[in-house]
């Protein structure tokens, strides 16, 4: 893969660099994609990350189906208790009293039970749904918002660029956790607002990234040609500018999913985000904090679950970056 010799020390981070499209950008994009995928396939750590993500996503979908469509059929029949008591189903709690508080690991409860006698493994499994949902949806919000703002700013330049990027920088200047907390205090403490809030706070990083790419793509001959041929700005941005600026954004998005999972876990830990009794990893850690002495293990598992999931996204993101930026491999 050829790349320009003008590798000036511009202080950009590796993710903001990669080769730009040429005149036959469609052909090149296709070659680029298959090349990228073949590179990725040869990277065992990236594949390991992908496996983690696929497994977690499948688990999340299954628990979603069970919770939303089957009304916790599997949870009640196989995990919680056959003599189901509807009032305890949603909290994934054994209906027969609080007989098994801080139960040790056993065949029935491999990871033991928590301070209300609930099976920790079942709650961990159901927590997957929240983590995956939060990761993908909030990143999608940030991605769409950031791509729109960044490409419009970069494409038009001038005062549009100035106004949009200053606004984005302002958003960036408030530490994101603080911003999301303030946002949720204003609009509501539930998962939807957590996802929207986290999504909004990621707009700046996506916008900055895509803008930096758009500014160079804008000057390419084929954009000039499209403009001369009378193609409307909106179509130029959607069909040419964004696709040709997208590679680093994809890397960023993959990594951002992991970050979003961490942030929402933190929010739930602070009492914002997912509210009890809905099982989420962050909220499990929040309640575990009150029982560090009687049951240290209770606080270990949810953290490990978060760690494993986020490692998955980071491994895949790193792999994508290496595959897209041939210079790192050289």
């Amino acid at each position: 893969m050829a790349h320009s010799d003008a590798s000036v020390d511009d202080g950009t981070t590796p993710e903001s660099r990669s080769t730009t499209g040429g005149v036959n950008e469609r052909v090149e994009a296709r070659v680029g994609l298959s090349y990228t995928l073949s590179q990725l396939r040869r990277d065992p750590t990236a594949m390991a990350g992908l496996v983690v993500i696929v497994v977690m996503t499948v688990v999340a979908i299954l628990t979603f189906v069970d919770a939303k469509l089957l009304h916790y059929y599997f949870a009640t029949h196989y995990w919680v208790n056959p003599e189901n008591d509807p009032s305890t189903v949603k909290t994934l709690m054994p209906p027969v009293g609080l007989t098994n508080i801080f139960g040790e690991g056993s065949w029935a409860h491999p990871l033991g039970t928590d301070y209300r006698g609930r099976d920790i493994l079942v709650r961990l499994v159901y927590g997957t749904r929240i983590a995956i949902q939060v990761g993908f949806i909030s990143t999608a919000i940030g991605l769409v918002g950031g791509t729109t703002v960044g490409s419009v700013a970069g494409y038009y330049g001038g005062w549009v660029d100035d106004a949009l990027m200053r606004a984005v920088e302002t958003l960036y200047a408030i530490p994101f956790l603080v911003l999301v907390i303030a946002f949720m205090a204003a609009f509501g403490r539930d998962l939807t607002y957590a996802m929207v809030g986290v999504g909004i706070t990621t707009i700046p990083s996506f916008a900055r990234l895509i803008r930096s790419r758009v500014v160079s793509v804008r000057e390419e001959d084929y954009i000039e040609a499209a403009r001369a041929a009378g193609v409307r700005d909106r179509n130029i941005i959607l069909r040419h500018v964004i696709p040709n600026s997208f590679a680093p954004v994809l890397v960023q998005a993959t990594l951002q999913i992991g970050v979003a999972i961490l942030v929402v876990a933190g929010l739930s830990f602070l009492g914002f985000g997912v509210q009890p009794p809905t099982p989420s990893w962050g909220q499990m850690l929040a309640s575990a904090r009150g029982y560090l002495l009687p049951d240290a293990w209770y606080s270990v598992w949810p953290g490990l679950a978060i760690l494993l999931t986020v490692v998955g996204f980071n491994l895949l993101g790193d792999g994508l970056r290496d595959a897209l930026d041939p210079r790192i491999n050289n």
């Binding site: 200047a173 907390i181 303030a182």
Partner: protein, 334 residues
């Protein structure tokens, strides 16, 4: 453009950003449902009481008037009076708590840089050797672990199980020895302070450590493959000299960028770390403020979080000059 003018320009550029932060926080805070006055006065206040308090805090005026008044007051260094800590000026409260958070930030960034820079350099130098794998694994786990969970694990292990370090609270090194139990001299206070600081520092610093290690490694690898490094090798310059004199300094630009960007994550992390260790800093102050719907305090703390970040970014930009004389101040910011 000289350094002084550049500094001045960066400070001036920060003003609209701070104005923006004040605007965002003002309108977000105003959207918070519920009435702080009712929380303050208890379940059944008289209409007279409510009206008095509303007038006292200016809540009886329309939003845009309050917004303009707020901005005017902020410019004059007046952040209002806290509702939760009755009668205490918000600025006073923040200035009480700010040093705690700053101490935590400084110590965690010091921890991060002191561990990450050598780790990244060694990792790049011994690429694909065992030490590189270990350091990459540590960095990967570091960026993937929730910081508050690290805190919980450290508390269990070192606070409760081994009993080596205090699991909660933070003692400031300049605290009065008389206020502490086992301290008589300044040295005792400092030792206690360090003991208290270790676990929160690791908790907050791990993410920074991991992020800096990763960027240090990739930046060093890039510089080590540059022509001038190859040339130096061809001339028979010792490898350690190349590393120290030629490669290291040039590799630090992206590292500084990342350190600056990590500041926003660290400020958020401070909220979590202070919660885990029950430390009374800015992070817990903002949580208290939001939970008690203390509008002025929410706005004040958010503004200060933004201010801390803006100052940090300016310092980062200025340190480019120290590291890389090629950076030109006339152009767009690097």
């Amino acid at each position: 453009m000289g350094l002084a003018r550049y500094t001045l320009r960066r400070i001036l550029q920060a003003i609209p950003v701070l104005l923006g932060i004040a605007t965002i926080t003002f309108f977000l805070t105003n959207a918070i449902p519920g009435d702080p006055i009712k929380i303050m006065l208890g379940p059944s206040p008289s209409a007279q009481q409510i009206a008095t308090i509303r007038a006292q805090y200016g809540l009886d005026q329309p939003v845009y008037i309050r917004y303009l008044k707020y901005l005017w007051a902020v410019v004059h260094g007046d952040l209002g009076t806290s509702i939760h800590f009755t009668g205490t000026p918000v600025l006073t409260k923040i200035l009480q708590r700010l040093p705690v958070t700053l101490l935590l930030l400084v110590s965690s960034f010091t921890f991060a840089l002191v561990t990450a820079i050598p780790m990244g350099v060694v990792s790049a130098k011994r690429r694909n050797k065992p030490v590189d794998h270990v350091s990459r694994l540590v960095a990967l786990i570091g960026v993937s672990t929730p910081d508050f969970w690290i805190g919980l694990m450290l508390i269990i292990l070192f606070g409760y199980y081994l009993g080596w370090l205090p699991p909660t609270d933070l003692v400031m090194p300049w605290a009065d020895p008389a206020t502490l139990e086992h301290a008589t001299t300044r040295l005792d206070v400092i030792v206690t302070s360090i003991q208290h600081l270790i676990l929160p520092t690791i908790t907050l610093g791990t993410l920074q450590m991991a992020a800096v290690t990763r960027i240090e490694r990739s930046s060093m690898l890039e510089v080590l493959s540059e022509e001038y490094v190859k040339l130096a090798r061809a001339y028979g310059v010792k490898e350690t000299t190349i590393l120290r004199k030629h490669a290291f300094r040039n590799a630090q630009l992206p590292v500084i960028t990342i350190v600056g960007l990590q500041l926003t994550a660290a400020l958020g992390g401070a909220v979590l770390t202070e919660t885990v260790f029950s430390i009374s800093g800015m992070g817990r102050l903002i949580i208290t403020a939001i939970n008690s719907q203390d509008y002025p305090l929410v706005m004040g703390t958010t503004l200060f979080f933004g201010l801390t970040f803006v100052v940090g970014v300016i310092l980062t930009d200025l340190s480019y000059a120290y590291i890389d004389p090629r950076v030109s101040y006339g152009e767009e910011e690097p």
